[in-house]
């Protein structure tokens, strides 16, 4: 088959060395396009496996940084996503409750006096919002030592898309670590996660403000 470039003076646009009057001429020329399209549609059906967001614990809740060991916050996730490469973060099983395990021990409603978590306070549920777009919500639970000092932070978040889940999992351990170090809500945000940093600070401030005496 040849394609002859022509002037619009009238030379033919296309010509075929093979017989043009063949009954299958159209079918032969349509075949590649149809094959391409149907292969595309089939591949889309095969490939399109968006990760179900309900796989992220209950409605994407992950409980982050609840352990008391200094510098060894625990990140809890039920996702198939690999954990961000923060060495201080270890991945354990899903705990979709607001009561975090302490030192790996079963949850204890009456922690020993003097230990971290003697007092607890939950901040406001805050929208993670950037300009006009809401990505989800988060709520910070702050724990205080008996002297009233902020000693540990846990976060629950509920976001609506996979990318946000990944950003949250990346940023929240850092924010937890920073909050524990600063012992206040006055912390530096994580770059690339401005919206969640802002929401985190707001919710943490609310938790500190609501600190039980």
């Amino acid at each position: 088959m040849t394609f002859i470039r022509r002037c619009h003076g009238g030379e033919l646009m296309s010509s075929d060395n093979s017989s043009p009057s063949s009954r299958f001429a159209l079918a032969r020329r349509l075949a590649p396009a149809l094959a391409l399209t149907s292969a595309g549609v089939a591949l889309i059906n095969v490939l399109d496996r968006p990760v179900d967001l309900s796989a992220f614990g209950s409605a994407g809740v992950a409980d982050i940084g609840s352990a008391a060991d200094a510098g060894a916050g625990q990140m809890v996730t039920g996702a198939t996503v690999p954990a961000p490469t923060t060495t201080t973060v270890t991945t354990t099983t899903v705990v979709a409750t607001t009561v975090p395990p302490v030192n790996g021990a079963p949850p204890d409603t009456t922690p020993a006096p003097g230990a971290c978590g003697a007092k607890k306070s939950t901040g406001s549920t805050t929208d993670i919002v950037d300009r006009n777009r809401v990505f989800g919500t988060l709520v910070v639970t702050a724990k205080f030592a008996s002297n009233g000092e902020l000693c540990d932070v846990a976060v629950n978040f509920d976001v609506w898309d996979r990318k946000s889940v990944q950003i949250e999992q990346y940023a929240l351990p850092k924010l937890n670590a920073r909050a524990k170090k600063a012992k206040s809500a006055n912390i530096q945000g994580v770059s690339g996660a401005t919206a969640v940093s802002r929401a985190y600070a707001a919710s943490l401030q609310a938790a500190i403000d609501a600190k039980p005496l």
């Binding site: 022509r6 002037c7 003076g9 009238g10 030379e11 043009p20 300009r131 006009n132």
Partner: protein, 456 residues
């Protein structure tokens, strides 16, 4: 020639609408759209991201190239819609040439977009493999996008000149049409992942709105014309043998009154007969279009020519157009100069009919033999009517022993005041290039040389 004499008694068709739009205006509009989008990207953080670390720079680059990719897609779509205004401004051949450039650029930017988006997302998605898996299906809408852009890439690659020339035009064309699917499929990820679009409701509204409008314009603008031409076909009135291998065909009928056209334009013809209805071919009008019909002159290439073998008097023929901007207005009050080779004489023949009697045109025809020139007697008569001259340069090019018939010197010898002419060149590609080069060297301005090169 009897048909021409008969045609001149008929009333010419309405002329095509004129437009004040110039090629430059279209370029300005396109550049302005790009500038607005770039500004929006810079203001929504793209600019500052560029200078705040590698991963941010990758992300900013990915979003900018993504925006440009779809802008070029939209520009290409709009051009191929063959909107009346744009077609009147630059002509179908340039419209489709621009379409090709837009498509090539889009393909290039698509590659850049993909290879900047991957490193941008690798830190948060946990490595290369995970990012690729996310981008080909784990992220919502990304399977659609991956396949859509693969289709776009196939179409772009197949349109590269060397590859396209290896496959039959229709095969290429049908594959080309899958680009509608490709573009539509890759649209949704712009909203779900594009941070600039997902973050701002109003930006999103404008973007989605204009995309929908452009897509609809391309689909309906293009295919509505095809539908119209098929549902209101012309009929083959007469077929005359002009030379051994050319015939002139008069397409007439009631529906011809719906068309507007002028000498120098061309039409896309689709014979509505079995086995031919899915092919279109462009033909120049070889006479001023009148109420009697459009006359086209068709060359039978020994092999699979459709004209003689398939067209019979009475056959229905769908006609799109007339298209093209080489109408008699281009001459203004300058002297016309025509250079034509082979069957390229057809628009010359039509244009001569519309020249005023004091225009003194010069016609240079190139052919192997005088009796291979279609409408030669007609051209001689028409040129004589308005005080012009016709030169026929015959013989094989190889026999000319390196004497270029279209060098500036030979052209200047044949045409005394050549630099004050307006030239129309039509013929095989080699002739067009040679003639254009010679004319430029002889001192003609670029705007005074009119060629139509259908390179789509």
């Amino acid at each position: 020639m009897a048909p021409a004499a008969k045609l001149e008694q008929r009333r010419p068709l309405a002329r095509p609408n004129s437009t004040n739009l110039k090629a430059n205006d279209l370029v300005i509009v396109i550049v302005a759209i790009f500038a607005i989008v770039t500004a929006a990207w810079a203001m929504t953080g793209g600019w500052s991201q560029l200078s705040s670390g590698w991963s941010h720079a990758w992300r900013a680059a990915a979003s900018l190239t993504g925006l440009y990719t779809s802008l070029f897609g939209m520009v290409g779509l709009t051009l191929s819609a063959r909107l009346k205004t744009t077609e009147r401004a630059i002509g179908l051949d340039r419209l489709l040439n621009w379409h090709r450039i837009a498509g090539d650029t889009m393909g290039l930017l698509l590659a850049v977009h993909i290879f900047t988006a991957i490193p941008a997302e690798m830190p948060v998605r946990g490595g290369f493999i995970n990012t690729v898996l996310d981008f080909t299906g784990r992220e919502p809408y990304m399977a659609l996008t991956a396949i859509g852009s693969a289709l776009v890439a196939v179409v772009v690659v197949l349109s590269l000149k060397d590859i396209r020339n290896k496959i039959s035009y229709e095969t290429w064309y049908f594959v080309h049409l899958t680009v509608y699917f490709g573009l539509a499929a890759s649209f949704s990820h712009q909203i779900t992942l594009g941070s600039m679009l997902s973050n701002d409701r109003y930006v999103r509204l404008v973007w989605v709105g204009s995309s929908v409008v452009i897509f609809a314009t391309a689909l309906f603008g293009r295919w509505w014309k095809v539908f119209g031409s098929v549902s209101r076909p012309l009929h083959v009135r007469t077929i005359n043998k002009e030379t051994d291998d050319t015939v002139s065909v008069l397409l007439g009928g009631r529906n011809v009154l719906r068309l507007r056209g002028d000498a120098g334009q061309f039409v896309m013809i689709r014979s509505l007969v079995r086995g031919q209805w899915w092919k279109t071919n462009p033909y120049s009008l070889s006479a001023v279009p009148t109420t009697a019909g459009l006359r086209v002159t068709i060359k039978n290439r020994g092999d699979a020519s459709s004209a003689k073998r398939h067209l019979r008097v009475g056959d229905r023929v769908a006609v799109e157009g007339p298209y093209g901007v080489t109408t008699p207005e281009i001459f203004g009050d300058k002297r016309p100069l025509f250079i034509a080779g082979g069957v390229g004489v057809t628009p010359v023949c039509a244009l001569l009919q519309r020249l005023p009697s004091d225009s003194r045109p010069t016609v240079l025809l190139r052919a192997r033999h005088e009796n291979e020139v279609a409408h030669l007697a007609e051209i001689r008569a028409l040129a004589a009517r308005c005080g012009g001259e016709v030169f026929v340069l015959t013989g094989r090019t190889v026999a000319m022993k390196g004497k270029d018939p279209f060098s500036a010197k030979s052209l200047a010898r044949a045409v005394p005041e050549i630099s004050s002419c307006v030239a129309v060149v039509c013929g095989p590609t080699a002739l067009m290039f040679a003639a254009r080069k010679g004319l430029r060297e002889a001192g003609l301005a670029k705007d005074d040389i009119h060629t139509e090169m259908p390179w789509w």
